[in-house]
Assembly symmetry: C2
Homo-oligomer: 374 residues x 2
């Protein structure tokens, strides 16, 4: 039996967050367990009061597995002083982000964007089927769920040249992210087959985008101010072990990837994501269809000798499906677009499994309100 599994936060989940006093907390049912006060853990309170998950990540994968196993035993028996209602806890950004890289791993999204942005050309960029394309985002503007997003201003395309003003095309991107838990020095490429052990956990990501700023600036250096004003992440980091039961085979890869990108199956992860604006779900999609897996993203990023830091954030890029109702951004829903207005609330929710009948786990949600710019 798995107590509280019906909430999505049973013993199969046990995600980590950090509260506003800097304590590491674990979601369990409708409560959180404050690990600084918890009983039955070998890892001591110093790690749980450091203000971020980085101290725990630094202990390494064996400690993550051991602590998870202990929590699965002792979570139901915690004393009252270690427990609080989940609804009363204010969660902060739970880890210190090193570098943030955003990929472009959904074929359906890349093709849709190519058709919109480069009509008449092959919708997929030439390199897209050969490697997981990506770019570096701004780590310093990653914010936790609940943070407001002021409407950004910038130079926008106008009829006779660029015009400065607030974006008129504010969009969202539904993404699945993961947090690197280990440091990998420069010059140690990780083959895709061995990369998963470096993943600490997964988060939901909303990569807010100003499409007019982006379209004016992006050639040839890629996305910059159209993205860098804010990227929101969910407050719960769900251990990779918790989502591992929902592995699925990824799409067949043709042409065959280079050796460093080869990986076993099932390489995909079937996380369902829903996108709601002002409480109305407008899109639902699964990350199981992503062409390039998390391990392939890690292998690609390190193949040139780049190192990793514990806390590096990888995001999938917008996840879209092939069918209407599975678009991961507003831009893909209609050519004219129906963009975000000031006051809108955007909620991305994530889960694995069957919410109605179980088993399932929740990845929680990442929420953001659009507010007027300054």
């Amino acid at each position: 039996m798995n107590p509280r599994a019906d909430t999505g936060f049973g013993l199969g989940n046990l995600p980590y967050g950090v509260d506003d006093s800097g304590h590491v907390v674990v979601a369990f049912g409708d409560e959180v367990i404050d690990l600084a006060s918890a009983q039955g853990l070998d890892v001591g309170p110093k790690v749980w009061t450091s203000g971020s998950l980085n101290a725990f990540m630094a202990l390494g994968p064996d400690a993550w597995a051991h602590t998870r196993s202990q929590l699965q035993s002792v979570a139901p028996q915690q004393p009252a002083r270690a427990r609080r209602p989940r609804s009363e806890v204010r969660l902060v950004l739970p880890w210190e982000i090193g570098d943030y890289t955003d990929f472009y791993a959904s074929r359906e999204h890349a093709e849709a964007m190519g058709r919109l942005l480069r009509p008449g050309e092959d919708p997929l960029p030439a390199a897209w089927l050969h490697l997981p394309m990506g770019y570096h985002g701004r780590a310093g503007t990653v914010v936790v769920s609940g943070s407001s997003v002021p409407r950004p201003s910038g130079l926008l395309p106008g009829p006779t040249g660029p015009v400065f003003g607030p974006t008129a095309r504010l969009d969202v991107e539904v993404e699945l992210g993961f947090v690197v838990g280990t440091t990998v020095p420069r010059g140690r490429p990780l083959p895709a087959r061995a990369a998963d052990s470096h993943i600490f956990g997964v988060v939901l990501v909303n990569d807010w985008s100003a499409r007019d700023i982006q379209s004016f600036e992006y050639r040839p250096l890629g996305p910059f101010l159209g993205k860098s004003f804010a990227t929101s992440v969910s407050p719960w980091v769900v251990p990779l072990a918790a989502v591992d039961p929902w592995r699925v085979e990824g799409p067949v890869q043709t042409p065959e990837p280079a050796e460093y990108l080869k990986t076993g199956e099932p390489r995909g992860l079937d996380v369902k994501l829903s996108l709601a604006v002002n409480g109305t779900v407008i899109s639902t999609v699964s990350s199981g269809g992503l062409y390039w897996s998390m391990a392939q993203q890690l292998a690609h990023l390190t193949v040139n000798g780049a190192g990793l830091r514990a806390g590096d954030l990888f995001a999938s890029g917008t996840i879209s499906g092939a069918l209407a109702g599975s678009e991961g951004s507003l831009m893909e829903r209609s050519r004219e677009g129906s963009w975000l207005a000031d006051g809108d609330t955007v909620t991305i929710s994530g889960w694995c499994g069957d919410r109605a009948r179980g088993p399932w786990i929740s990845l929680g949600e990442v929420v953001g309100d659009v507010v007027p710019g300054l």
Copy 2:
């Protein structure tokens, strides 16, 4: 009189570094002053033994100016225990880098690259004259001068499709960087006229580039693995106040920039940079010709509401002049290129003023050896 000014490290310079024991040191003549042992400073040893310049930066611009003024008084009278020969000191990366953004601020370089990469098109990207184009680089692979650079591997363009292997087109980029010294919260755009006060100091940057990896990957998301394997910086952070006497007027900007990018003159900074391979200088250029200034880069990056962290690194992008012998990269020297070989040593040196007759200050150098990849 300015003692030791002939070395480039007189009282007008006094750049900050960090030694391998984590102490902040200041270059003065052929020596360094260990600030943890120095006499006559109001800022105490805790700040000078923290392993990076970030603790000092956190004290703010008034403390930077006050400490600089005190150092200019007391540097010549330091006791022997606070002094060491500069040649015996091992310097480490002197600050913790938040985000690293690389711009494209040299018109001569942008036009040269456009002609090489997009022959037949307008060499300047459409947005180039309207805003300082840039992209985010990988902060975690910024290394200090003296670090070896293993030749990166990746997918390279081949006659019948991409081929995996070590880059055959390893290049350098001669750049001037600056370090942000203050934290600016999200949603507080800095107009260009007010941005300089947020700059702590300047460094030399070598943004190593693998041109074949870059050319295969860069459309449409911009530079990624072709750059992310290593970026080298000089070990001395030269205070903005030290280079300020070498302000120069920048190129006329037509069309007129948007209001947030407008700035007074002289907006440029006349830092001379030389590029040497295996001890032979092959190029010399000045940053005084950069089209977009440091203050304009800061204004642009923050205009969308993005915040800054103390320690953020901005780099100019490759600095090239209009004449032969002033190219900031090997790619621009000849269409066929003459790329770096394993064992090559690349040295970028920087200075302000007239080295032969003075006055002048040195920005030191950023050195890197190319070694075979793994």
